[in-house]
């Protein structure tokens, strides 16, 4: 898809939706309605949205522990997402998964994942499935810069390359791995530079620029769809919140955070570009934000009013067997 005002508006709208969804989820945590933890995607929205805007519904997406954005960008219901964070029966996973496992299989969004680097193999597997079935579906794997150290990265990408599978590996390099700055534990700066080991193209981009993400992802997706094999994209980004809830963030300065927020907020950047190009008026902008806020408000109401899962749900969905284990 080539870049048009419509695409931009859709992306811009989705980015707001993700932003406001998460800010509300954070607020609901303080109210005690959302439990467990949240890995906030705020600040990184351009990546999920830029990439997913190049996808069809039948393309596969696998995510990480930080996947609210991946799920929403693939089209998941904001109501069900919020209900999942509340642990309600109407959640995307019936309350069984929570924030780290949000998924919508009807959209081929095959789930967030609580294990760092665990999605890279399975995404290579969905791509193998497409190849075996001779469809032209593309598979997208999102993962963090920390995940690039895991053996799964090495093993899976090697096979993705070996069989020229239709998969795009998207590393969200937010420069931190939980509480540790990447520079303390990494030996090379750019994850994209590892692509040579796997004989695939590697490209490093500005992950705060939705348009750059959109363009580069578009090429990689098209390449995959043509059967020319995987691409490794590193999108440089920054998370505006702590690693997960309650993170005291002693490992970085608030100055650093503030600088990123004011200079490199992906939503502000896209909005400004669109206004410059005359693709967005202030009024439209206001409407988009109001609309997103209203959706989020409705999602909270949906979640609040939804029923809890009950004991009857506890032992379902384990296997197709009744348990039968004494």
């Amino acid at each position: 898809m080539s870049l048009s005002p419509e695409v931009c508006k859709t992306m811009y709208t989705m980015m707001w939706r993700i932003r406001l969804f998460e800010e509300e989820a954070d607020r609901q945590t303080n109210l005690g309605n959302v439990v467990g933890t949240l890995h906030m995607y705020c600040g990184e929205e351009a990546i999920a949205v830029g990439v997913c805007s190049q996808l069809r519904t039948d393309d596969y997406v696998l995510g990480t522990h930080r996947s609210h954005g991946h799920c929403l960008a693939k089209g998941a219901s904001i109501d069900k997402m919020m209900a999942e964070l509340f642990g309600k029966a109407t959640g995307t996973c019936g309350g069984k998964g929570g924030s780290m496992h949000v998924a919508d299989f009807s959209l081929n969004m095959l789930g967030a994942n609580g294990i760092v680097g665990a999605g890279i193999g399975p995404t290579t597997g969905t791509a193998l499935a497409s190849k075996l079935r001779h469809t032209d579906q593309v598979s997208i794997c999102f993962f963090g810069d920390g995940a690039a150290a895991r053996g799964t990265f090495h093993e899976a990408i090697m096979m993705g390359s070996l069989w020229k599978l239709p998969v795009v590996y998207v590393c969200e390099n937010n420069q931190y791995q939980q509480w540790v700055p990447r520079k303390n534990v990494a030996v090379i700066d750019s994850v994209a530079d590892m692509a040579g080991s796997y004989a695939i193209p590697g490209v490093s981009i500005n992950g705060q620029d939705a348009l750059e993400v959109y363009e580069v992802a578009g090429e990689a997706v098209a390449r995959a769809r043509r059967g020319e094999g995987p691409t490794l994209i590193e999108a440089r980004t920054y998370r505006f919140y702590g690693h997960s809830l309650g993170d005291e963030q002693q490992y970085r300065t608030s100055d650093e955070v503030e600088k990123w927020k004011s200079n490199s907020d992906p939503i502000q950047l896209l909005g400004a570009t669109m206004k410059e190009r005359g693709w967005l008026t202030d009024e439209e902008d206001g409407n988009i934000q109001q609309q997103a806020a209203a959706e989020v408000k409705k999602a909270v109401e949906f979640a609040e009013q939804s029923p809890w899962p009950t004991l009857a749900n506890l032992e379902t969905d384990v296997t197709s067997h009744s348990l039968g284990v004494a």
Binding site: L62, R133, S139, E155, W163, S320
Partner: protein
């Protein structure tokens, strides 16, 4: 009926399933060369070109790919050359394959078979002889299948391939070449259904894998002592057919649980504990467990011979039980 070896029975089932269902494919190390390490994948490359993937040495990657392909609706048959190498892919098995259906509230299906050649074969020592059934029993979401005869192997393998959920398929290397009658054509055996391999009144031997044959031989010898032994083969350890096992023990009042794996926290412990809990009032003697001692598998043949339980151990345990 046709006489065939255990590995041939699985191969036959695999061929038939690949014929029947286009979504079945094979992935693993060295599976397309020399018929695969145990000849189970012999002929697949020729009969089903493009549906067998010979991989780099990367078990985590292989099983991870299996999980993804399965979630996308394929039916991967993953071969791990030795069960021992599943240790390189435990996240993929335990946190991904097993839990995906549950974590997604029933959205995911992971119809994958992981083939696990296990136990002692040639003398290859501690890193090539493990069994570890109890690990996978302990993981909800996994099915643990352990056939003991070629006929069971064929029927259970077909069920495993068709199952919507992951199956850990244990193949004891020692019995790959053991022969038996196998029905021709298509048939399946439900996972979770034990098989009474021999009826008897005096004591129940619950035997896993190769211990089934040894127990049947022991039972014949025990006839001379006037003991009438029932041999129950669980065939799947998870789900476990509690009813069939307990019915037998309630009848005989005595139970001996036998596996080749070490007993300590092994499969036999679960079965023994379960019998103790459910059949307490009917037990005339303690439930005994037979298995390996709690040591890594040694290399030397002189040490190995003290490790793997044989039919003499079954006989001894039955005698003790009858004397109690």
């Amino acid at each position: 009926m046709k006489t065939m070896a255990f590995n041939e029975a699985i191969r036959t089932a695999l061929h038939e399933e690949m014929q029947r269902d286009e979504s079945v494919f094979v992935i693993g190390e060295d599976v397309a060369t020399h018929g695969g390490p145990y000849k189970v994948t012999d002929g697949i490359a020729e009969a089903f070109p493009g549906r067998i993937f010979e991989t780099p040495i990367a078990e985590a990657g292989i099983v991870g790919i299996g999980v993804g392909a399965a979630m996308a609706g394929m039916r991967p048959v993953v071969e791990l050359m030795y069960l021992d190498f599943v240790t390189c892919a435990m996240d993929e098995v335990v946190n991904q394959a097993a839990k995906m259906r549950y974590m997604t509230g029933g959205q995911a299906r992971v119809p994958m078979v992981i083939r696990l050649p296990c136990g002692i074969g040639r003398l290859l020592a501690a890193q090539h002889s493990q069994i570890l059934e109890s690990w996978f029993m302990h993981v909800p979401g996994l099915q643990v299948v352990v056939p003991s005869t070629p006929a069971d192997a064929k029927g259970l393998f077909k069920t495993a391939v068709r199952s919507p959920d992951p199956v850990m398929f244990f193949e004891y290397k020692r019995i790959y070449t053991s022969k038996g009658e196998v029905p021709e054509g298509d048939y399946t055996i439900p996972i979770g259904q034990a098989d009474v391999k021999r009826e008897g009144e005096d004591a129940t031997v619950v035997a896993i894998g190769p211990m089934v044959q040894k127990s049947l031989e022991a039972a014949v010898l025990l006839e001379d002592d006037g003991y009438d032994i029932e041999v129950v083969d669980p065939r799947s350890l998870s789900p476990l057919d509690v009813d069939t096992i307990c019915e037998s023990v309630r009848k005989t009042g005595r139970a001996i649980v036998c596996g080749e794996d070490s007993t300590f926290a092994g499969a036999a412990s679960e079965i023994a504990a379960m019998i103790g809990e459910n059949c307490f009032g009917d037990l005339k003697a303690p439930v005994r467990r037979i298995g390996s001692p709690h040591v890594p598998m040694p290399f030397s043949s002189e040490l190995v011979k003290h490790v793997v339980p044989e039919k003499s151990h079954v006989i001894e345990a039955v005698n003790q039980s009858m004397a109690a």
